[in-house]
Symmetry: C2
Subunit: 424 residues, 2 copies
């Protein structure tokens, strides 16, 4: 209460709004020790955008340097060690999303991986529509739009509940031969879909469902096999902390691997890769979804990021994530709602992932002011401030301080509108 | 002649076979200073596999570290700097292959890029066959095979001259609507195709030609616009020294960009990328061939590698390359031919790129022994030893020493056959 940097704390209020409460939660945090596993400058402020680009793990810098050393000294002789890295990194991710070894491969971008799986699913079972919900991430929609046009298929975008994303009832229109893409956690609202229920709903209608785990893997426990999921893709540079533009991954359930073929046939998916004079004959396993030579520097970062997350454990990560997002919601209700904010995320922690959106018509102006005040959130137009919670390095005190600064900004009556700008 | 490590030199012979000749060429080499621009350990032997994986430039290590620092300290604020990197790196490559700015983008793997261009070309002008020559790199063939099967198109593989690759006459069977993929330098023989003549031949028959520059860019002057070429792809980890699995690139002539659409629609190809609630509307320029988030660490290495090559200049690189490959051929004729070798590359320097293949039924056994003797060549089954010449760091003395060791190995009558092994 006596910290002069936080006068708001001296104003009293409920225990949830007292900074001491946040400090006590940090003191009891079993994951607190993971904060130092990331590079963090003393002055780099409060980072609530790990849902867009995660921080650099200390081990990843060493690992990238080791790959540079290996390239420098072993040259082409490094390949026997590198060649299985897409599968090793894939298995490291698989351990976080509930798959068996050999069901995930890390390669290409999330977009390219989704393209491969949608094309492969249409080829195997298609003929129906390509389907997604309006709240899904745009690149998923663009992929479907392109394939639908190329193949002359119907593209069906269904309206999902703004806060709760696709719910089982919304899949009622699905028919046999449809291929559906849904996000496990919605990029805007943070709504967490019921993977098992939706997978069962799609399957019962003869549709093939592809999950996008980009905003859930690494922050939310995912159990692909337990949910009966057959296909998934995801991103590694958010909660898996693999760095800007690091490769994505894809999952194909073992049962489906032999009959599913990638549309992009390349030499890394070819069986007996170096017997060059043969027709294409894809490897039996998940490796058939490789195409060109995989990017080794960035795949090494993918493996490190996934291993660090596994070390912390997803149960602990989820528990802390829920605690942190509950604090955001509590402070929103107490401080921001009276200033005209609306909660843009599900109120029940069981129904949301690891980011919380707070919406306000002046969200862009507040975002710019927050950045000037040393807090990095994520803006999504037109009116949403996403507060990303990365439990491995976000503290309760940071959340408290960020919300405290946001309410001070929003309470100002002299804040000019920020000029419209390109948001990256 | 008195160097005790090189007893062969004391045996006399023509001037081309004297080690002093090689040393004199090195002494007069205007590119000799570029050798120290690459990391090279004192004991890492003679590396003649830069046509498979180039060495690590000193500047690239610094640049990768700078990107790590930027990720660490700027986090998501690094994106305004990173977001144009695929185009910047593309322009750096474009300066080496004869394009205007804005005609090349660095992204994805060579395989994925070829897939995108073949699909786009078929969509725009297709209906005919997909065509390539039997000597082309396997992944190019696999891509075509996959697309032909998916679209119900004919796949036509024509026999090319084993040494000279596709020649103009071989394109006689082309018809309107065909899409052809040819390598500028053949991966096995090193044959250098006549890009202008083949491009004109394809065009006169109404076919669309896509060049694969993987084994030429960075070692051989390429003039895409001068040759009238419309489309190309290539690799950056060979003569462009961008590191294991670094992204490839693609070229689309400016005139064609507006009408050509990538089959893989993703958010990095979308105009007004962050206005998320819109249908897909690709950017007007080469950026429409981006799909997912590009891998920044490895794209930084691409840009560095291309800039280093530009600094040396392709005229000087080509002149040295020709000198080095002429030395290989001369030493082959003098030393290896009597031991049962055959030259697997064109004899005329104007008709070959920067590697020379020497063929022998025991090539694999000799390759293993060469590696044991401190020389790294590249083996391509069943009988070819590829000697890759990277003029920025390969010296004439290294070529002389490598061939000297190879002849000593091949002359042994006690060398057991190497066990068959997976070649990487």
């Amino acid at each position: 209460m006596s910290d002069p940097r936080h006068p708001a704390a001296t104003a009293g209020g409920s225990s949830a709004t007292a900074r001491e409460h946040a400090l006590a939660l940090d003191a009891a945090d079993p994951l607190a020790g993971f904060r130092v596993r990331f590079e963090m400058a003393a002055d780099d402020g409060i980072y609530l955008d790990g849902n867009s680009l995660g921080r650099l793990p200390v081990a990843t810098r060493s690992r990238v340097l080791a790959v540079l050393d290996q390239w420098s000294t072993e040259l082409v002789s490094g390949w026997p060690d590198w060649i299985d890295l897409p599968l090793r990194a894939g298995d490291a991710i698989g351990a976080l999303v509930g798959t068996a070894p050999g069901e995930v491969v890390a390669t290409d971008s999330t977009t390219v991986n989704l393209y491969k799986l949608v094309q492969a699913a249409v080829e195997l079972r298609g003929g129906g529509a390509l389907v997604t919900d309006r709240g899904n991430f745009p690149t998923d929609r663009y992929v479907l739009e392109g394939i639908a046009a190329a193949r002359g298929l119907e593209l069906r975008i269904f309206d999902s509940d703004e806060l709760y994303g696709p719910v089982e009832a919304d899949l009622g229109g699905l028919g046999a031969g449809d291929v559906v893409v849904l996000s496990h956690v919605a990029y805007r609202s943070g709504a967490l879909a019921d993977m098992a229920a939706l997978t069962a709903a799609a399957r019962s209608r003869g549709a093939t469902l592809i999950w996008d785990l980009s905003h859930s893997a690494g922050a939310v426990p995912v159990d692909l096999r337990g949910a009966g999921a057959e296909l998934a893709v995801g991103c590694t540079y958010k909660y898996l902390n693999a760095g800007p533009g690091a490769p994505g991954y894809l999952y194909v359930a073992a049962e489906l691997q032999r009959e599913l073929r990638s549309p992009v046939q390349g030499w890394f998916g070819q069986s007996d890769q170096f017997a060059m004079e043969r027709d294409y004959d894809p490897v039996p396993g998940i490796g058939r979804f490789l195409a060109g030579t995989p990017p080794i520097l960035q795949l090494a970062a993918v493996e490190e990021g996934a291993k660090l997350t596994a070390e912390a454990g997803l149960a602990a990560i989820r528990e802390k994530s829920v605690g942190l997002t509950k604090l955001v919601v509590a402070l929103h209700d107490e401080w921001l709602a009276p200033l005209g904010f609306e909660l843009g995320s599900p109120r029940d922690p069981a129904g949301r992932g690891s980011h919380v959106s707070v919406d306000h018509p002046r969200a862009w102006t507040f975002t710019r002011a927050l950045i000037d005040a040393g807090v990095t959130p994520d803006f999504r137009g037109p009116d949403s401030i996403r507060l990303g919670i990365a439990p491995l390095y976000t503290s309760f005190a940071e959340v408290w301080d960020a919300l405290d600064r946001l309410r001070a900004i929003a309470a100002r009556d002299d804040l000019p509108d920020a000029p419209p700008a390109r948001v990256t």
